[in-house]
Amino acid sequence: MTEKLLQEVRKFPPCRAACPAHVNVQAYVALIQRGKFKEAVEVIRRDMPFPAICGRVCFSPCEDACARVNLDQAVAIRALKRLVADIEREQGRVVAEPVPKKYGEKIAIIGAGPAGLTAAYELAKLGYPVTVFERMDEPGGMMRYCIPDFRLEKFVVANEIAYIKDIGVEIKTGVEFGKDITIKSLKEDGYKAIFLSIGTQLGMKLNVPGEDLEGVINAVDFLRAIALEKKITVGERVAVIGGGNTAIDAARMAKKLGAKEVMILYRRSREEMPALPHEVELAEKDGIKFYFLVAPKQIIGENGRVKAVECLRMRLGEPDESGRRRPIPIAFSEHQYEVDMVIPALGQIVETSILPPELISKEKRGPPLQVDPLTLETNVPGVFAGGDVATGPASIIEAVGAGKRAAVSIHRYLRGEDLRKGVEEEKIEETTWVKDWRLLEKKERRYDAPIEKPHLSFEEAKEYLEKLKRQARFEAFRCLGCGPCAECLASMDLCEGDKAVVDEGKCVGCNVCAVVCPVGAIKKNEKGVAQVNEDLCKGCGLCAARCPERAITMKKLSDEQIITMVLTALER
């Protein structure tokens, strides 16, 4: 599937083009319209193994790209995904059929995070024996250990991973790369290809004096310790430093663990915060205070414990290479915040100490691994690397995209094919078909998947579910279906996959079809004859019904066919 995807000339709707994993959004939304929730999840699983996880924590680039913003608001794609995945899980976990092993080459994947698990999933679907090695006791990586429970429940992660195991992926936990296994030992054990997806596990340091005081704990370590159910004492007054999602997560976690006052210190202003606006709102609702344009200068201790953070005020200068305005410290603006716990959340870096030295790039600047961004090859043949370890900390969906790309590369590598073929000229053509936005009616988005499950009796629950489904279908109906056929693989009576065909001999070039066509798929060519753009044609048949010369017929549901159906119906 992935391979096919990469080789085709792509014509994707904007949502699918924007998604790093190119999940077939249009198809599953179309299935939700029909009330086919189960099939919708299956369609998502064709492209990635984490429907429920991404339904919760994805930063949804698809919604940012949605063409409906030209009219009102984007379709609530993430919430829809979450709902279908949740309904499926609530009705009993789907046990996948194991995929038979078609090939003999063993593949090792190091790190059971989103990138590694996706690569394993895709390769197992192709028929390879895949083993995933994980250092921690549970697979899932950052999804399991760093996203707090209130955003992504552990059982959801476990459920999605169980599905990956079902199709035949072996996951070995408690195996540490660099200690228990190395690239050499794996090759000796007969693994023909290795995918390195260890992620970025180390929290970045503040690089200010007083960082080693008691009470300073990095956000990643803090969240991981909670996920591991270690005992952690949260201070009364907590300062979280940073403006990303991890900072918000850590702050909300600290608040939930009983901190009286939690503040987030960020060196830029609110507009530049990388955290999702939705998460920031939730944090504010939790009572977390935000201080903008401040950066820590030092952490002041007393008897080895944190007593306060001394900060400098900032002002914003010119935009830097990331496009955000660079903060500039204001001299003599030192001030202190009295706190007893400091959580730096400045981002993560790769644990270079466990990487084999031959993989580490010679250059001081830039990422520590030398990886071809298109094929994900490293400089050691047979070893691939992707996900956060290659790109720096990113999102789940980007890791999924990297995992899919790695799976394609590994498959080609093992089959002796050209890794770059078709990948280089990978061009995604976006299509939006709406001819005239004025003709569309506004339907505001008023949908969000419910965050909490209410306690209901059996009858109430049934009613509640019906209500949810109806709302979801209502929302799905807002989708404009920008792309050509979504290949939702629903039964054919839903969509005939029909196309209009012009009989050039009969066409007189009156242009009625072009006026009638809602998608602008018909245009007159230089000969003055109507021409159907098959990529845009949706097979509605409006042109066939209006063509003054009856020169347009439909490929499948032609006029003759309709009349035959009428005759058989009337004979009954």
Partner: protein, 250 residues
């Protein structure tokens, strides 16, 4: 209202793929559902052909305005139905035998209720007052009128003419367009009826005027027009009376 036929009427329902798409539909046995991609797909000629083939009622089911999957397929259907009702009336069938039902694909769940209601309405109309041959002849003429260029181009352009502008930058008011449509539908129907009648044997203007129930001068005007279009030709002259015979339309 007296019930003339004892059997429930035969009804053909053309239904949009998206309307009532969710559940198993319960349909009365005298209603036959045919799924089409969009209700706008229904060519007026096809609807008339369905009537000509013996359907006693035709129900078109589409989606309510904001929900049409093809932006304005339902509005196209509305225009077609407006024209079809005029044609049906001319053909001697009650326009009520044709109904366009626009439903919300989410709110409406009970198709059988709609179908039963329509079926009863048609049942009450009973059999048509005209003889069967006459109706079939009229319907074939109507169908041919609906398949011909003039009516179709008018229908296809209606939106453009009434809502935007014509080639001269004028916007035609709705009523004006309606009157225009009335005239054209009538003229086209009569012309194709003349064509139908002269297909089997040559007929004179007088004879045609008698059958059609209009003035001979009007018939002659239509015939002149049809001769110019190559639809009809002079066959021979009996005494002083010219007889006309239909030509094969391409």
């Amino acid at each position: 209202m007296k019930m003339e036929s004892s059997n429930p009427p035969k009804i053909v329902c053309f239904m949009c793929n998206w309307a009532f798409c969710e559940e198993e539909m319960r349909v009365p046995y005298n209603v036959n559902v045919i799924r089409v991609m969009c209700v706008g797909r229904m060519d007026p000629a096809l609807v008339l052909e369905t009537f000509a083939n013996g359907a006693e009622g035709v129900l078109l089911v589409g989606c309510k305005p904001p929900d049409c999957h093809f932006v304005d397929g339902n509005l196209h259907a509305e225009r077609a139905v407006k024209m079809l009702k005029k044609l049906l009336a001319l053909a001697g069938l009650e326009p009520e035998r044709l109904k366009l039902l626009l439903v919300s694909p989410l709110e409406d769940k009970d198709f059988s209720r709609h179908a039963k209601g329509f079926s009863e309405e048609v049942w009450k109309l009973g059999n048509s007052p005209l003889s069967k041959e006459e109706i079939v002849a009229n319907l074939i003429a109507a169908k041919e009128a609906a398949s011909a260029f003039r009516l179709r181009v008018l229908l296809g352009r209606e939106e453009e003419l009434t809502e935007f502008m014509n080639a001269y930058g004028e916007k035609i008011p709705e009523e004006e367009f309606d009157a225009l449509l009335d005239d054209i539908v009538r003229a086209e129907f009569i012309r194709y009826k003349i064509h139908y009648l002269t297909r089997t044997k040559p007929r004179s203007v007088k004879e045609l005027a008698q059958i059609l129930g209009i003035k001979p001068s009007a018939v002659l005007r239509h015939i002149t027009n049809m001769r110019r279009k190559g639809m009809i030709a002079l066959d021979h002259v009996e005494g002083y009376t010219p007889l006309y015979k239909a030509l094969e339309v391409r």
